[in-house]
Symmetry: C2
Subunit: 287 residues, 2 copies
């Protein structure tokens, strides 16, 4: 089983709405609060050679990215840190604190624990005071499918030093997420598990299909083309935003981004006329 | 090093305020939000024989207890679950969901991950719309020191079946915490690491001392007296509230609780005329 399969076990217990987005949503009288929590641990999430400072940065960044993907402003982050070695603590909290400062959130402490494998759970709060969060389920046929930035930059970092910082110091698209929400996007998520799975997620939540053009996907120019496409579609670790937006709303979006396709009526995700394989970064359970 | 020592590493990075209470505090225009995060894992937190449902309950309860200790109303809980065995998921989420329902919070999903050791991080939000949270640092000399409930009931559960549910299904004191805040308590925390450490924590944060009477501590009557006192003072696992309150405010508190002593000028914690040992439940790091 993978985590998307396990979600089917949770849904009947806690309700479908709670499982469908990067963040949980809590309406308050003065705004809408969004909450995201992410578990990262040494063996499955941190590349070999990453520094403790980068581990802290990454732990904060993945959560801030989920908040950005709702079009919200990050306000607070707490970390639960299960430490295998106390000497790592200072680097980790400094990295997390620097990332929070960069993106406008307060790093507000958390919990400390001993753990045989370094394990960090990062939980963040964001707020929207001038509208509604952008969920995954609002896409409608005929809308444009767009992405921010250049995809497929994280995975090459495993072997190519030029991309090491892209892998270890992801930059959440906070300003971009807010601008995209305000322009009228109908669905959004970050592509941290790869573009392909993200397209399927939005399509399934929205009850639509997606059709995209491979050559329009923005990938690095100085990398083998086929490897870069594989990293972008199926690799994970990129923290760009994928969103759907009506064509007339797109005109008002003053942001560098790339149109890669259109939302369709028919279920499924099509690239260049063929079904796009539904695979990407999935947590697989120990058997 | 233990977790209280490690806090000294974190404080210079993120500021003293963020490390001093059960919850982080976020003022919003419509109320004050409090956030707590707790990491629990198999080997150090879950007694042998505990069911998955009880693990889920306990994971939610410890966090809701931190919210209660600020005098706040729990509103939302998210869980990051690192699963060693997918078959445990349903029991865990059902237990957490039942605990949330019992205490008025929405269980709003979270994150799923694979982990060699079952690891759960529970993060909760609470809100106060009619006042300020009760922190640890507000106690003043002459005030009464009080506790809710009966202490020392969790640790005996390790060997005595009569207390098994006290150990595995803690009951956060949500209504009590709100009533205590409204009555005008000046300092409060839950005693999950034992009464002794909690007295020291409030004394140190408040810049006061504490003097208590051993015979006034409420302990179970049908347990060996010395064992029960040790469990109450140094054992941990009880989720009752410890608070300080001016004598005239106490009169307005319509709640069963027990006065165990008085706040003093002199630093330190004194029980029956002697210094109370500063020990309790501490996470110790692997060497």
């Amino acid at each position: 089983m993978d985590d998307r399969t396990l979600l089917r076990i949770i849904r009947p217990v806690i309700g479908t709405d709670a499982c469908s987005d990067d963040c949980a949503i809590l309406p308050l009288p003065c705004g809408i609060l969004v909450t995201s929590t992410d578990m990262l641990h040494e063996r499955s999430d941190f590349p070999k050679g990453i520094t403790d400072w980068q581990i802290g940065w990454m732990s904060a960044a993945v959560t801030i990215s989920d908040i950005a993907a709702m079009g919200a402003e990050p306000v607070q982050l707490v970390l639960a840190i299960g430490l295998d070695d106390e000497d790592r603590l200072k680097g980790i909290v400094t990295g997390a604190s620097d990332c929070c400062n960069q993106f406008g959130a307060t790093y507000a402490g958390g919990d400390l624990d001993a753990h045989h494998e370094l394990t960090i759970v990062s939980t963040g709060l964001g707020i929207i005071t001038d509208g509604q969060p952008v969920q995954r389920r609002g896409a409608k046929p005929e809308e444009l499918i767009c992405v921010t930035g250049v995809l497929g930059r994280a995975i090459p970092g495993l072997t190519d030093k030029r991309f090491w910082k892209d892998l270890c110091e992801p930059q959440p698209r906070v300003e971009e997420g807010i601008a995209i929400r305000k322009a009228g996007a109908t669905a959004m998520m970050d592509i941290s598990d790869g573009l392909a799975l993200s397209l399927y997620d939005i399509a399934e939540e929205s009850g639509t299909g997606m059709t995209i053009t491979g050559s329009s996907i923005p990938i690095p120019e100085d990398v083998d083309h086929s490897e870069a496409m594989t990293a972008a579609l199926f690799g994970g670790g990129d923290f760009e935003l994928l969103f759907c937006i009506p064509e007339n709303s797109y005109q008002s979006l003053n942001l560098p981004c790339t149109i890669i396709g259109r939302v369709t009526d028919e279920p499924g995700v099509i690239m260049d006329g063929r079904i796009l394989e539904k695979k990407g970064y999935l947590h697989h359970w120990y058997e």
